[in-house]
Symmetry: C2
Subunit: 503 residues, 2 copies
């Protein structure tokens, strides 16, 4: 994964420092957007005009892992700056107005609420201007900083809820919406599963029409976005199918997991999820092929071009194709298993959390949580991918990924603490057997793939190498691997060469 | 302010990439610690061994403003990594233990407190591992990330207090310490100011001995640290003297500002503050002269060297001399005035805040606030200096400076809201006159220095240039300015050349 760094930084130097770069010493070219010391006049001029704020962050991550070529003319206008001092000034004015000019009400509960909301708003002000930037910059870095701050607030809220008693925690939701904190009504699920119901003469297919409701586009949209997040057909399909298995396994705990067999497999997996994943993969293909040329809006001559540029502001700055390669080594394999596990856990939390906190499924907080995860999941997945894949081996899990992991765990802990009885309902014996078998299969494969197979391969390899030393060296030096990467090579990655020698 | 960037990055390249750097293309050398694409084998080796986590941040700021030379062998051991996953794991375990294995008490108030404390702790866990790094890295970046998070928590706490009624806010302090929330006893200040009191036969100097208490070393230490923070003799002296003037002006509001004249000027300004500033300046001199060579502890052969290295871990990574140059242009002049204003406001807040929130002066929260400001003020001042001085003109005020400014403002707003009567006590006429005169003087000087004088100078300059075009061009091209920089040149900076031509 060598990146065309030299060419890219050359472009950046050209565009951001003008003529001057050509005469500057080569090793002092562009270092985080620093201007070369050789030409002070030029630099003063540029300082004042173009590079009012050399976006250090964007320069950084331009060099940090994308596979596509990016052209950026380095325009850095009002839109891109962080406006730290402006935000501070406006914040001060707002505080002066609200706390000194308005009269404080005498209601302690109201003031407490207001104080907490004000604290959150100040935290958002701080975070949106000052938090650490993540991997995404489109449509604007501040957008992602905002979601990072929301993540922090949500996690702290969950921690607070986690430390209350079950009764207090449920009643606490009343502070957010007075209608909450009331037990959910029992619902009747399941029932007649005939696709063609001869008993109903007016419309024998009524069971099917009953299932086609608002959740069909929701499922489709959900899986479209999940595909954009995961960026891998296989992982999407595995998670999609696994979730239906989980619904089967847990329908004795949450009755709304119980669906008809054709609802599980045809409506959900094939139609809704499948179509969502298909459209997602098409979009991914377009995103990985589309040119990434970023010009300042004022540098575009035509009106149509300007509108196109504005629309493209909502597409990514550059594109990284995820190649998870789960079978390439043990670490990646365990990481991919962990990702799938956490993903499914987060999906289950959606249902369990609203169950234990007495949230009606149609409540806006449930929807907000999903909107939150859509915005945050993409960043988190990209950070996990970078963490796993970075050739520089930073060994620092991204902030958003860290928080999303913490949130998933905290949500699960809340579920366990608030309703241990439901969670502990004994799983039917048949289902336990299936899961046991599945886990055993995965374990065996892991053992075979990363321990037994590797040892035998390595043994054969050393024996073969001893026999044909000269020809082997020629081939590896020439680096001429004419085989096109197959589906399996994507899975296995670096161990490809080992297998080639075997066959 | 051209930095020896090429040489520095050369050193970094040498030390972090070994032999490989010499054969790499010049413009792909070290870009944020990226390894050159030319030599994959070498890079894999280094990846696994030395650069387990190339500290991108430290590489960044190594290039961002210090004047001294820094040598760093790039050792990046366990001590330096962020341990994001480890912290996440330990956090999860702690949450599981506390919330699932311990029984939750039925006391709502206790649980609320516990929930808030837990939220703060989780926030600290997140922040210490993940927050954006500031300009300081010694003794460890996590130390400064910790203080950044504390700053956020403190600011949010202040905002919350600000939104309560006066009564509720004072009573709220009881949650922190049940002994608080009680009106302070009236104290008797002032009194006999005779240095030699003939009335007291046993010890006529008893007035002096009375004043020598725990506050003398506190004043000394405080000003020693303030000098390290401000790094400028003149600004320290101005703030020190200005504060005594403020004490004179405000002793009708807060009685503990009233002191004897010799306590103000001899004990405070001359002895305590003066000695503190003197020692601070000596330390600054040492810090700006000392070599900055950072070797990994295991690379040092001798035992004595290792101990010295550990001790030096508590000295800065590199050193930036602050040259505030207030008279160089209008922006800097206003910025320096603003800094002095905010500094004095923060000092006054110390006294007013404990007065309005009924905090006894010896309470540990008062001391904690000072410890907090000592840790945070240095970072904030450095960030303000970078913001003002950065030749790259980032135009982004540092996060810590932003927060410290917000905190100072919020503290002041709390004072105004909680006790408007004290703040509004009419200032004696004589003092109003003095302040009016002072402000008028500053205003006049500003007007003369940056508007009138510059216009006349520019006029004379252009007239002179027209007369002596050839000789002038020679001088400016040769860049031969033989005069050594005087104290005045430090003040004026870039306008030096203009004044030279005038004389």
């Amino acid at each position: 994964m060598t990146k065309p760094e030299s060419r890219k930084s050359g472009v950046a130097a050209m565009s951001s420092t003008g003529k001057c770069a050509t005469s500057a010493p080569a090793n002092a070219q562009v270092n985080n957007g620093a201007l070369e010391p050789g030409c002070p006049d030029q630099s003063t001029y540029i300082k004042a005009n173009v590079m009012k704020q050399t976006s250090r962050e964007s320069m950084n991550w331009r060099n940090s892992g994308e596979d596509c070529e990016v052209y950026d003319d380095g325009t850095n206008t009002f839109f891109w700056r962080a406006h730290t001092v402006t935000v501070l000034f406006i914040l001060t004015c707002a505080l002066v107005y609200v706390t000194l000019l308005e009269e404080t009400p005498q209601d302690t509960a109201y003031n407490t609420k207001r104080g907490i909301v004000a604290s959150i708003l100040v935290f958002l002000c701080f975070g949106v201007t000052q938090a650490k930037d993540g991997p995404f910059t489109r449509p604007h870095p501040a957008y992602w900083r905002f979601w990072l701050c929301v993540t922090v607030v949500y996690e702290l809220f969950l921690i607070f809820i986690l430390f209350q008693t079950v009764h207090d925690g449920r009643q606490f939701m009343k502070y957010i919406d007075p209608k909450l904190g009331v037990p959910l009504p029992e619902r009747d699920y399941g029932g007649n599963c005939l696709m063609y119901d001869p008993g109903n003469t007016t419309d024998p297919f009524h069971n099917i029409w009953d299932k086609i409701d608002g959740f069909v586009p929701a499922h489709f949209l959900g899986w479209y976005i999940k595909t954009l997040v995961i960026r891998d057909w296989w992982m999407c399909m595995i998670i999609s199918v696994m979730f239906e298995f989980l619904e089967y396994s847990l329908e004795h705990q949450l009755p709304n997991f119980s669906e008809c067999w054709w609802d599980h497999w045809i409506m959900d997996v094939l139609v809704c999820n499948g179509l969502g994943i298909y459209c997602g993969m098409k979009t991914l293909g377009w995103l990985s092929m589309k040119p990434y040329q970023w010009q300042g809006l004022w540098n575009i001559p035509t009106y149509k071009g300007k509108i196109k540029r504005i629309a493209f502001q909502f597409t990514p700055y550059s594109w990284v194709k995820f190649e998870w390669k789960p079978a390439s080594n043990l670490r990646r394999w365990l990481a991919v298993l962990g990702i799938i596990f956490m993903f499914l856990l987060a999906e289950l939390n959606t249902f369990y959390l609203k169950f234990v906190l007495w949230m009606p499924p149609e409540h806006y907080l449930v929807l907000l949580r999903l909107v939150f995860f859509v915005n945050v999941g993409g960043v988190a997945m990209r950070e996990i991918y970078d963490f796993m894949d970075d050739p520089k081996f930073h060994k620092k899990l991204g902030q958003q990924a860290w928080l999303v992991a913490a949130i998933t765990v905290t949500e699960f802990l809340i579920v366990v603490k608030y309703d241990p009885n439901t969670i502990m309902l004994p799983i039917p014996f048949f289902i336990t057997q299936c899961w046991f078998l599945g886990i055993l299969l995965i374990f065996t494969w892991t053992l075979w793939r990363f321990f037994i197979r590797d040892i035998t391969l390595r043994y054969k390899e050393t024996r073969r190498r001893k026999q044909e030393v000269p020809s082997d060296r020629d081939r590896s030096l020439g680096n001429g691997n004419p085989s096109t990467p197959s589906g399996r090579s994507k899975l296995n990655g670096s161990s490809e060469t080992v297998r080639q020698r075997k066959s």
